[in-house]
């Protein structure tokens, strides 16, 4: 999987690259408009992370250019300007997703995977992890061929954690992803724990070969047993 990261802030770029490389993606970078345009014109990528504010031009112009060249890359706009207008304009110009800064890496990975899945497998793709099988579209889970019935929140948690397998997912990232952006009261994440507890029990009862670890003070991590 080849990913192009277009970002002008060197530290941000470095962090994105390192995090994506951990997922075994092939990562290329561009940090201003001209080099970005050159790369997208010459090569084909599976996914592009695009910052809107670029030296030498706007990311939105680049999107128009992609559309003109009829490129089918999945584009995720990553912007510090959390403005509704940019979002609407970006999505209208063919971007797949819009992620306002700051964001959690877990969220970025989930979005990237979602874009890749939609682009490459037409959405027909089951997550397979040891004896665990997940259908993201039908909201179904099987353990060793036997269906595991989860409520919506449990399903969302499980899918998010498997998407970020072996990564540390902070409870804020998890809460925002599952409960929505507005669940933002730091003192109040204990309610997540009760859902995790139920999910753990169900996974264990069905003999799933994955385990949700609690990382003290930060969040959770899904590991294969």
């Amino acid at each position: 999987m080849k990913i192009l990261v277009i970002e002008d802030e060197p530290q941000m770029l470095d962090t994105l690259v390192r995090s994506l490389e951990q997922e075994k993606y092939l990562v290329e970078t561009a940090s201003e408009y001209e080099s970005a345009l050159e790369k997208v014109s010459l090569y084909t990528y599976d996914c592009i992370l695009l910052d809107i504010n670029l030296p030498g031009g706007s990311g939105l112009t680049l999107l128009e250019e992609l559309k003109k060249q009829q490129k089918t890359e999945g584009v995720i706009i990553v912007s510090a300007r959390n403005s509704v207008d940019d979002k609407i304009q970006g999505l209208e110009l063919g971007a797949d997703d819009y992620l306002p800064k700051p964001f959690h890496m877990a969220e970025l990975h989930a979005r990237v995977k979602s874009v890749l899945r939609r682009r490459k497998f037409d959405g027909q793709h089951l997550h397979q992890l040891q004896n665990l099988q997940i259908d993201p579209d039908k909201h179904q889970v099987w353990v060793g061929g036997q269906e595991l019935v989860l409520n919506r929140k449990e399903f969302d948690i499980l899918l998010y954690l498997t998407t970020n397998k072996d990564r540390l997912v902070s409870k804020t990232a998890l809460a925002e992803h599952v409960w929505g952006d507005y669940i933002d009261q730091a003192d109040n994440y204990e309610f997540i724990y009760s859902q995790i507890k139920n999910l753990r029990k169900k996974l264990k009862d069905h003999g799933a070969e994955v385990e949700i670890q609690a990382i003290y003070g930060i969040g959770y991590k899904l590991v294969t047993a």
Binding site: E9, Q11, M12, T15, L16, R18, S19, Q22, A80, R81, N82, V84, P100, K101, P102, F103, H104, M105, A106, K153, R167, L168, S170, T172, W179, G180, Y182, I183, D184, Q185, A186, D187, N188, E190, F191, S194, Q195, I215, Y216, G217, I218, G219
Partner: protein
Amino acid sequence: MKLLNHATTYFAGLLLAVLSVWAGLFYVNMLDEIYDSMDDGLENQKILVVQKANQDSTVLQQREFEAGYFRIREIPFNVALHAKDRYQDTLMYMQNEQDYEPVRMLTTVFERDARYYELRLITSMVEEDDLIEDLLYSLLWLYLGLLASILILNNLLLKKIWQPFYRLLHRLQHFRLENPTPVPVQPTNIDEFQLLNQTVEKLLQQNVAAYQNQKAFIENASHELQTPLAISLNKLELLAESQPLQEAQLEQIGAVMENLERLTRLNKSLLLLSKIENRQFLQEEEVPLAPLLQKSLQDFSDQLAFKEITVSQQAEEEVTLTMNADLAAMLVLNLLKNALVHNVKGGFLRIQLTQTTLSFENSGREQPLEEEKVFTRFFKEASSSASTGLGLPIVKAICDLYGFQIHYSYQEGHTFTVRFR
């Protein structure tokens, strides 16, 4: 009281005083002149009567006034010796008026053939009360005439002269710092008004500029903070994943991340506030409130359940507001969040939605909050350090934008009521 009327009142008072004093002096002077002239007349008559008496001694026999204007009585020498000319006012019965009327009387003595006579001469006098009455009426008419002139002068002339002032006043009255509308300054050739216009214009421009700068600063600062925040958070996430880390180190990283996340939320809220105040949410539509309320309750159902909060609601259907859909959601969400965050475990939440109001009542600390402070930014109860202190200010900003009233009260619980109409 209006400025013009104010001046007129003073004028009326001053005029009354001036006219009264003037009338008094005028009256005294006039009376003095009249007496003077009457006394001269009496003096003259005295000479005439004495001359007549010299020619015709029967004159000396006129003992009473009756038909004449004088009477003569003989007096002994020793009385005559001490007598002086005396002018005095007295009353006399007048046939024409059928009443006693004032008369001026001269009492004098003269000598004829070594005999002494007292001569009393009278002349009809001005009726003082009639004079005063006439004078009073004249003055009243003069006074009223003057007042009328002043009023006319004020209302026609002064109003015209003060027009630039009133125009400026009207403009200031309708001036809003957050939404300044440029109004062309009316040219005037009065120096003071020119100066006033210029000064006010300058003052307003400075204020608008300062306000815009401040708003721009908050917005820019918030934007500029996003990237460093993102970098810090993401680097910490990378750090937390690098192996091997001890639990104590992870805990530290977790604490730093939590604070950065809090900073992020603060930043987002500030941005939202400045966007609301900058009126960047333009698109308006009919927003049904009941479904919005249900959706928010659904979103927060896990948290409500976790805190064991009993939710009761009375919601009328078909309540719609014409406003921006995002802001409507934000309004309901922030009110709900406020009622949830400041609630106690096992507490209650009562929501009421009518055609005119939406209110949230929640249990919490058992003492009322200061109503003036709850809507100010960063006002927080000590217990909830994790809240941004911007939720209610956002609610207030949305209410202000659409002209809704928001009100806090405390009875059984803390109640926030939004009145739409």
